[in-house]
Symmetry: C2
Subunit: 403 residues, 2 copies
Amino acid sequence: MASFLGIFTKRNLLVLSLALNLSLVLRVVYEGGKDGGPHGFSVEEQRGPSMADMGFGKEAQATQRTRLSVSSSSDQDVMEKVINLDHGDPTMYENYWQQMGGRTTVVIPGWQSMSYFSDVKNPCWFLEPEFAKQVVRLHNVVGNAATDGRQIVVGTGSSQLFLAALYALAPKDGSEPISVVSAAPYYSVTKNLFTCWQIKAKSNASSYPSMTDCLKSGLYKWAGDARSFNKEVPYIELVTSPNNPDGFVRHSMVNRTGGILVHDLAYYWPQYTPISSPSDHDLTLFTVSKATGHAGTRIGWALVKDLEVAKKMIKFIELNTIGVSRDSQLRAAKILEVMTNTSENLGSFDSHESFFKISYHLMAERWQLLRAAVNRGRAFSLPDFTPGFCHFLNQDSQPQPGK
Amino acid sequence: MASFLGIFTKRNLLVLSLALNLSLVLRVVYEGGKDGGPHGFSVEEQRGPSMADMGFGKEAQATQRTRLSVSSSSDQDVMEKVINLDHGDPTMYENYWQQMGGRTTVVIPGWQSMSYFSDVKNPCWFLEPEFAKQVVRLHNVVGNAATDGRQIVVGTGSSQLFLAALYALAPKDGSEPISVVSAAPYYSVTKNLFTCWQIKAKSNASSYPSMTDCLKSGLYKWAGDARSFNKEVPYIELVTSPNNPDGFVRHSMVNRTGGILVHDLAYYWPQYTPISSPSDHDLTLFTVSKATGHAGTRIGWALVKDLEVAKKMIKFIELNTIGVSRDSQLRAAKILEVMTNTSENLGSFDSHESFFKISYHLMAERWQLLRAAVNRGRAFSLPDFTPGFCHFLNQDSQPQPGK
């Protein structure tokens, strides 16, 4: 058993612990909850009262929602219904957007946006100008990323942008594929856990290693943990901060300089972590799914300093999907616009409608619930994060990982 | 000169001829047109009268449209504005969809379709059930593809599905990449033409060879023209019918059996070619962009007989884009629903509103214009296609390639 555990780092174990904890919390609430009724409970219903405290008490009627519900039939059913942890499906923000009502509704006539082209004057010809405008506006208001002098590249989620970055940064004439590394634990652990538990999981577990290596590319290859990478060869390091899945703030971990860095800042938003300063990297990835909760919309964006790198990313997206859905960009633009407006109390929005303030409290509430449940046992523990001053919320705030 | 020409097949030359013809037609109309005014003309305006004959006379007000316009400033300007031929940007159907008005409008509230998951019970968990339903309905009404016993896989355009098919069909443990072939001329010629003419084209020219080889995959590699492929190794043959760019009906061209076939039937719709019978292949690709003209929506679909192949395609799409935009699928579903309803005179639709009948006449009109212009000179010619009986239109109809 000791040697078996020896293959894990402390962080691996932490993540294992977190995942088990979540499962246990669900069981605890399931067995001890009062509101669940005979057929189970839904997480959305559990958080109802606190949302009510913030003026969001009316249980809205959501259609097409995927609830994280647990039935009472069997253990197997329970486990099968926990699998959405795999991607941290962010339906927790649904209630908020329902309360925003028609202000975030998009109306797209049948004849609109038919052309492939969104903006023929932009190197990223498939980038909707309105989406680009709202990205810049949001970053300026939140203060989490510098946008001046960057080319915005829109992608079909940040997964596509990650692959586009590898394509753009890898030498085309190298004698062997460039190494791609990231500090463990990285975006793949839940998949391993599911395999470990022999759960017949919905096979939607993507991960940096499997994404990188799925086509056995001659341009790049996965080379494992950045901490132990010591080859004297060129490399691309993916820096995910706050990290998925453990939530810690990250910097480059390879023990030398000269690597090409790609920063995945999907969780660098006020509800998940204190916003200390605007990020200012060469190539930074963001995604609507984590920022706003609209995972089904499949929109991400990259801020890229070097125009030639951006052009290669654009080429990759042309070759793979001939651009990015214009409908989804228009919808994302509307959502981002409302987020920014609620943050600035613009238009018809009151201060108590701020998306980031409400989602910060929502995350705090969920972490309190998790900690309370874990504290009822002794088998597992949760990490303590160091609070920091958030310049957006203008207060000390707790890191509250979204996964 | 003779040896230079010798490297081209007759079909290469035909395509070269067609492309030059299109350029000349634009020049002819530009120099001789009466409606263009001092600053040029737009193709949409040219077709106005005939659309009027079919009850579509009112010039609708399109916003966000990309017109194929030609300015009068210089040759370079002219050439730069012809580049949309590269993808055959299908904005010619805009007028039709404007006339359909609110019946094709989609309204998406901010809280809708937030989850990654569209249908957790479907192997293709990111497939919107309503989109799948409308795909089946449309194929059944048009009669261009058998859908029974097929898994529908939705993709971010058919480009993504083509790559997903290569991933799914290539052996994962082969000693070398499987060969991918297609009969020339294939989807790449316009790019070569632009390079030939040293036009600084918008670099959006994707093509089967560049899509296949862009990542130097160890799973598959481009192996050229199917007609001359004679290696005794496994291969995947892409059969595009009607073919892009020359419009001819195609079958497998490799001179032996045993290949794995992928059928790209993007143009197998009544406005482009007679519908002779429902296609019944192992793996068939379609795309909304060519069927309905909604290129900016980035939605395609595959009909796949073997569920295990479908699952691998689904895995590829997970790894690359974690599914397909749900907003776009909902919009595409609405468009397909209206297409089918107009074909069946259902709901509020009259017989003169049939999408396929109107678009068939629109294509006929454009080909008449093209032939008339080409006939004014002697340098080039257009191919004569063999008419066939179209079971959908219930009449003999002419092939009318869309590119």
